[in-house]
Symmetry: C2
Subunit: 214 residues, 2 copies
DNA sequence: TCCTCCTTGTGATAATTCTAACATATATTG
DNA sequence: CAATATATGTTAGAATTATCACAAGGAGGA
């Protein structure tokens, strides 16, 4: 599906570069070099240029990159020129934190619905949305075109929820529960495991690994 | 500092394996094969065995791995046999979610203190802890041996907080703000960037990348 | 004891990803 | 307009990481 296989690490870095460029834009900077991007994103200049090179040349030799132009290009590569519509299932601590967070909408991800099965939580207003009964989720998905489902519920219930939305048009699932889930072929699944970060840190500290954060 | 360089990806997987083994333990399973571990953690059996092989042989040929024994070994490798003491700075949406989460303490990470600079939040009780004034953080760190600082505050304030705890014994920083921070050499910094996950997903969906999630 | 079955541990190989170096293009200065 | 300085784009090579294939160890049955 692609001429050259592009490293996922490159895509992840593009996302970081783009948000760095946002800050530059806001600061009125209009040109940056690969070295400056590297410094601002804990990367290195060769890596930055290589990452861009996968998609063609965005810069001017001897000069650098036009901040606005480069950022527009990256966002287009990432598919952020369209609006992605998402729901959050499980309005506990983490679900609420995500629902209140405005950082996603500024990147093109719009939270369209919030669901929970706890009567205490149903009806609660969170920001501009009201938590809906988990039972109406299927109907909601029939009536609204939703791309992404964010799962913030206990591990043991995630698979059941995934099964229920089968064929309802969900294209990607962002799963915060520490468990493997299975969806139909073609559905993107990404697992976010916060404990892993702490445990890798524990390992590094225990074994005195000095990650050269440069 | 190590004989062989062990891939960070291996360490991250060990964390996932270990939590899968926790579930097996709870279910009363006493032996697992690399294939079963692979299935339960979205890995593959060769990878699982290779990961273990970095640290020696934990299994019995023809039989598999003793669940309890293997899990104990992994936890020791990860440094989870000791208690890690952490504080959270920034008790907004995300900070609260982390503070209420009990999943970390069961892995050996104990939240010792919560800090914020918003008078509205100072004094608020969260679980068993009370949010303290950010101003007393240095004193708190002098009086308590804290290993890890979790940062859940707006990007623009993170570096200032990091600077203030310099030399106070913090060994690792888990940063949720989307910005690069600098700490003295030897301090582990790990950045958790949730937006990256969504944006990589956006890229994959846009370009019809079918990540074979086994 | 010998034979069969099963699953690990591992060395060889393949694939992926990063790093370094430099030729090329652009701007600027005198 | 030539000379110089600067930063990109790209190619080649190094390093890291994952996959494969199979020999060897161990259990159990005849
Ligand atoms: N909070 C954190 O900091 C954190 C960190 C790492 C991982 N996680 C994971 O994220 C998930 C959520 O964590 P949390 O702390 O928000 O938990 P929580 O218990 O606060 O929230 C879970 C919510 O899911 C709802 N729920 C349960 N079953 C449901 C169903 N079938 N349909 C709809 N809603 C349902 C519950 O009513 C509850 O509101 C868990 O899997 C947890 O392991 C959380
Ligand atoms: N909430 C999310 O889902 C989410 C997702 C991705 C990234 N993040 C990042 O995590 C961070 C926190 O997000 P949030 O949604 O919890 O924000 P928030 O605004 O709800 O919370 C931030 C908290 O930090 C406190 N604070 C500010 N300056 C401080 C200081 N100097 N010392 C102590 N406390 C201070 C504020 O009083 C507030 O309580 C942000 O950087 C955000 O970009 C959050």
């Amino acid at each position: 599906m692609k001429k050259v296989k592009i490293p996922e690490a490159t895509i992840a870095r593009l996302s970081v570069y783009s948000r760095f460029l946002n800050r530059m834009e806001k600061n009125g900077v209009d040109t940056v070099s690969s070295g400056e991007i590297a410094k601002g994103t804990a990367s290195n200049s060769a890596q930055v240029r290589k990452d861009f090179a996968y998609f063609g040349g965005f810069g001017k030799r001897g000069v650098g990159y036009d901040v606005i132009d480069l950022n527009r290009n990256i966002k287009e590569i990432l598919g952020l020129n369209k609006e992605w519509r998402a729901i959050i299932v499980g309005m506990g601590n983490l679900g609420k934190a995500l629902a209140y967070y405005h950082g996603f909408s500024t990147r093109g991800f719009k939270i369209m619905g919030l669901f929970d099965n706890d009567p205490q939580k149903i009806g609660e207003k969170i920001d501009t949305l009201t938590v809906q009964d988990d039972q109406v989720m299927e109907k909601f998905l029939d009536n609204n075109e939703i791309d992404i489902m964010i799962l913030t519920l206990p591990a043991e219930y995630t698979q059941a929820v995934v099964d229920r939305v089968e064929g309802k048009g969900i294209k990607g699932i962002l799963n915060f529960a520490p468990t493997v889930i299975h969806a139909s072929e073609g559905t993107q699944i990404r697992n976010v495991d916060l404990a892993v970060h702490l445990e890798v840190m524990s390992y590094n500290l225990t074994h005195s690994i000095n990650k050269e954060q440069e």
